[in-house]
Homo-oligomer: 281 residues x 2
Amino acid sequence: MNIGVIGLGLIGGSFAKTIKKNTQHKVFGYDINSVTVLKAQMTNAIDGVLDENAVKDVDLLVVATNPDVFLSAVEKYLPLLKSGAIVVDFCGTKEKIVATMKLLSNTYNDLKFYGGHPMAGREFSGFDRSTSTLFAKASMILVPVNTDIFDNDFIKKFFLELGFLEVVFTTSENHDKVIAYTSQLCHIVSNAFIKNKTSQKHYGYSAGSYKDLTRVARLDSEMWSTLMLENKENLYSELCEFIDNLQEYKQALEKGDKALLKQILQEGSDIKIATDFTKSK
Amino acid sequence: MNIGVIGLGLIGGSFAKTIKKNTQHKVFGYDINSVTVLKAQMTNAIDGVLDENAVKDVDLLVVATNPDVFLSAVEKYLPLLKSGAIVVDFCGTKEKIVATMKLLSNTYNDLKFYGGHPMAGREFSGFDRSTSTLFAKASMILVPVNTDIFDNDFIKKFFLELGFLEVVFTTSENHDKVIAYTSQLCHIVSNAFIKNKTSQKHYGYSAGSYKDLTRVARLDSEMWSTLMLENKENLYSELCEFIDNLQEYKQALEKGDKALLKQILQEGSDIKIATDFTKSK
């Protein structure tokens, strides 16, 4: 089939490269930066440019832009899509975009849409960092809008063909609630951790635990601040719960209570072991 | 030379295996668990058992026990060591052990000691998890007691020969201050993070950032509670600073202030980039 990709950054670029590597589908790409489009063509990440002609023949249109430009990026293409074409977005929060697309499905009543979130990423951004292995064994989350079980089956097979480990169908509300913790809070914690002044002295005194904990302190502040505020109630609640958790360790240290500290640490260790599904990436 | 290793867990076992793999030195090992000693012999991780005879010929004695049994593990060997032999411990905090060894150097006045801390580890423990690659490109921290520049030069060359990237000489005070942040606080943060109830639902909704952030939530609660309480002032201070950092994100979310949240995230990202020495492991 023909696949259109809007936005050829880390995610969109990796998606295009993955399709070219693992399938026979044709990819047509667009990016607001014309140099990026040229790079994508020269490296055979795309078969051609996604323009107003090419979009008429796409079976699947993927939008991998920053969330705040999603609507402006996609709305000029919607009237041009053929009947039965499927649209998927790759933004990190789902409630706002899914609500928008539900509204638009009143205008375009044969529009099939999935709010999507590939569970993969890196601390870098841009096409130059994109790679055909980014999604290998990752989970793909999909929120269906105006689709039926045949569409769901079709889209699931497609993502598995790309190399994803599994496809999870859910609601936008559930997605945003869980992701506030599994992704957004991770980035806040890492970003806040590196602000302790001792980070300036870590060289020679740090190993894997420090490296892992601070990896995503480096982030795209524009994109993440947008995503976090779109999901602020969930994220705020997770952050408060985490700070409450930390208070227990603080109190145990304050008291110098070894038995208490050991118990608290053991509880966390037990939860980690119980929730450590080895299948997850 | 002949090297004695007391404690053949993750660290001591990996140390013995590294010596056997990367050097021609002989290794004699002891562990409180006799099955572990047998395993170490059968897998050629050691050349023989470290008993009261073997210890008389060692040039270097390494103690890789839990910190609370360090003294009882080492004190029976000290009177048996030959003159000029060097003792190194591998425990995760240094002030208490270095103070103890300074006192003991009044009794054994030709005792040369280094409080050591290899900057490497895993979320697992025990000989079965030990590996000859654990210390590859890691940093080795050493706090000298009763040694001269020739000893320092000798021990530095030895650790580099094993495959460590570098050897850092410092004081026990500085070690404990920095390590409270780069290692101990990482473990508390990871352990506290997994306690948010949403961790139960992460499967299918998590990727690299979650995996990295929760890796060391699994830990040896006995060992870590001992280490953390030995260093409680430093760790308490780092933990308070980290909680203060988090409050800023909480306030930005509460206000729904995009410009502020973006600025806070950008500051963390900038610090990460500025302190990301690519040489460090």
